[in-house]
């Protein structure tokens, strides 16, 4: 996992609530056995009329060239639905490092964190302030300070993240190595059950 500290970037506004994992990555793209290459199918059915990619939907934000950046900003309840980690992989593979919303579904939040994508929960008011910015405006996310700032206005909010996960992300550590190191302790726990 890559470490993540500060991200200063333009952002892509996705003004849609309840974005479910079937929209993030439709089930027909879940047949892979590796984690790579999911980015091209991110929001597939919102991006293209047909499966052959020849007809991009002009009204969908990922197809509008004025928008770019490593930060995705979405309306509330982002990532609801299935537990497919492919949703987090596709967001990472597309090039996002941060997803901002006023509310995240639980499993998605965990999956994102486990892949080095930072979910930033902001207030509804702050979310609207971000949505009010133009395509060239910049957001700065500072994980160590736990702040997200709209550079143009200087408005900022602090966000929550538990300190264990924060350390993991800052250093690019991963839970699995930690758990592997605990095997003896876990075996001892099993013996007491």
């Amino acid at each position: 996992m890559q470490s993540l500290q500060t991200i200063t970037s333009k952002f892509i506004p996705l003004r849609i609530e309840n974005v479910d994992t079937d929209q993030i990555i439709p089930a027909r793209f879940l047949k892979a056995t590796t984690k790579e290459g999911f980015g091209k199918n991110l929001f597939r059915d919102w991006r293209y009329e047909n499966d052959d990619e020849t007809q991009p939907k002009a009204d969908f934000v990922l197809n509008q060239p004025q928008y770019s950046g490593a930060i995705l900003v979405a309306a509330k309840n982002f990532g609801c639905g299935s537990s497919r980690e492919h949703a987090a992989w596709s967001i990472l593979d597309y090039g996002f490092k941060v997803v901002v919303s006023s509310f995240f579904a639980d499993i998605f939040k965990n999956n994102a964190l486990n892949n080095g994508v930072l979910p930033v929960t902001v207030s509804d008011v702050f979310l609207q302030q971000i949505f009010a910015q133009g395509p060239n405006d910049i957001l700065s996310v500072d994980l160590a300070a736990q702040t997200i700032t709209i550079d143009a206005t200087g408005a900022f909010e602090t966000f929550e993240i538990n300190s264990y996960k924060k350390t993991c992300l800052l250093n690019g550590y991963d839970d699995i190595d930690y758990l592997l190191s605990m095997r003896e302790e876990i075996a001892a726990f099993e013996a007491t059950k």
């Binding site: 003004r15 609530e17 929209q23 999956n111 264990y164 095997r183 876990i186």
Partner: protein, 467 residues
């Protein structure tokens, strides 16, 4: 102060509490399937580690499998490769696999309980959000991502932050034509698709106590559709009777010992819940969804919300988007609308009791000839039981073919898809855009309401067909 049922099970499984961080939670049973496991197997191999407790893992192939001609090789290459990868991985790592052709094969959340693997007091995970189904037995069961599947491979533990607790009490007696699917659709419509995010839900009250295990599973199954981490129901005599005698149920002295322990699994009278919701069973009518998330539901006789009822601009915009996708108009009623497809299946409603319910409605009648059907048992065992009870004859006489076990049109990873623009009255759990195939329009209902649509080809109030 007393503890909640959820709290009792959780606390007993905490190996270590990380300061200002998650708990290292011990997992008793780990179910896996072909879609969310391959990257976890690769991951653990890359680390040069073995699977810590392979005997606590059970695998099945369900998401990708065809529901016809299962004895033939899977036609879709990618699906076949994924299923083959599971076979290889299980063989290599010593994991029990109930693959295609095995009598124990079926949808992972149907076979676990059916085989008696799912038991009260356990922690159970699977790389699948509907793992909450197993909570019906009084276990802490929830869906995880593939990184977490790898954690369990590595250590039989995962890192989890303890969710908050919620109790939903449903008191009273259900009206005729109302079944457990209607209860959960009613709850989700009431509290929204995100109303329980951050919570683990306990379902309680006399209406829940009166339900069979199958019906309880339907409720716990859809906990995730309101955002909950999971849902559970305290075990009681109904639970114990269901488990006793099943393949992996404890036997003899072991049974007595387990039973004594299971009887301690309930929320203490003075347990504290972070949120409580009370529902009167008599208020619940047969339900149906009209939108593109499971929270967009109403009574089958009701009308869709009007545009004016939305004050928030984003909500209004989202409602318009859902209406456009579904081809519906604000304020309209759904009754009498023509439907082209009926799907009865999925881990929500594909157990024997669901087929009995449907059979009780269609018996001696013919399905509407215009309706296309996908009727899919949840497991080989359910399929066998359908035959043993002669239900297949009732379906056949009604002009309906019964398929072979799998997830099928619940998510359309195999060839069972609903054509774009067509309506599907479905007993599954998700009505998301494109869930049952690109452009498919899903309306979630109970098996009874699905049976009514089978007969009439229309959205019908099942109560008009009951005598």
């Amino acid at each position: 102060m007393g503890n909640t049922l959820f709290g009792k099970i959780w606390d007993k499984h905490v190996v270590k509490q990380i300061q200002d961080g998650p708990s290292v939670l011990y997992i008793d049973k780990h179910f896996i399937h072909e879609v969310t496991s391959p990257q976890a197997f690769t991951g653990i191999e890359k680390r040069g580690a073995s699977i810590f407790r392979p005997a606590q893992i059970v695998a099945t192939a369900d998401h990708n499998v065809p529901t016809m001609d299962q004895h033939l090789p899977i036609a879709d290459q990618l699906s076949r490769f994924q299923v083959d990868t599971l076979i290889d991985n299980c063989a290599k790592h010593g994991v029990t696999l109930y693959g295609l052709g095995h009598p124990n094969q079926g949808i992972v959340h149907v076979i676990g309980p059916e085989l008696g693997i799912t038991q009260p007091g356990m922690t159970i995970v699977c790389g699948d959000s509907h793992t909450s189904t197993h909570g019906a037995f009084g276990s802490v069961a929830f869906g995880i991502g593939t990184s977490e599947v790898e954690m369990v491979f590595a250590s039989q533990c995962i890192m989890q932050t303890k969710p908050k607790s919620m109790r939903i009490n449903i008191e009273g007696v259900l009206n005729p034509g109302v079944v457990s699917k209607d209860i959960i659709l009613y709850i989700i419509a009431k509290i929204s698709a995100s109303g329980a995010t951050g919570y683990f839900v306990e379902y309680a009250g006399s209406a829940i106590r009166a339900l069979s295990m199958e019906a309880r599973m339907t409720i716990c199954n859809m906990s995730i559709e309101m955002g909950a981490r999971g849902g559970l129901i305290a075990p009681d005599q109904t639970t114990f009777d269901y488990i006793q005698g099943r393949m992996f149920a404890p036997k003899g002295a072991d049974w007595d010992r387990q039973l004594a322990e299971w009887k301690t699994l309930y929320s203490d009278a003075d347990a504290h819940f972070d949120m409580e919701i009370n529902i009167d069973a008599a208020d619940i009518e047969p339900m149906i969804t009209y939108g593109t998330n499971p929270g967009m539901g109403l009574s089958v006789t009701g009308s869709l919300p009007t545009m004016e009822s939305f004050t928030d601009a984003t909500e209004k915009q989202n409602y318009e988007k859902a209406l456009k996708y579904m081809g519906l108009t604000a304020g309209q009623s759904l009754l009498g609308m023509t439907v082209q497809n009926v799907f009865i299946g999925s881990c929500t409603n594909s157990r024997i009791e669901d087929f009995r319910l449907v059979a009780s409605i269609i018996k001696g009648k013919q399905k509407d000839p215009a309706v296309k059907t996908l009727i899919v048992p949840g497991s080989q065992e359910v399929a066998k039981q359908i035959k043993q009870e002669g239900l297949d004859k009732i379906f056949e006489a009604a002009g309906i073919e019964i398929r072979q076990a799998g997830c099928s049109a619940c998510l359309g990873m195999n060839e069972d898809k609903i054509p774009a623009g067509e309506y599907c009255v479905s007993t599954s759990n998700r009505n998301f855009e494109g869930r049952q195939g690109a452009g498919a329009r899903t309306m979630l209902v109970s098996p009874l309401t699905a049976a009514a649509a089978l007969l009439t080809g229309k959205i019908t109030d099942i109560r008009t067909l009951l005598n």
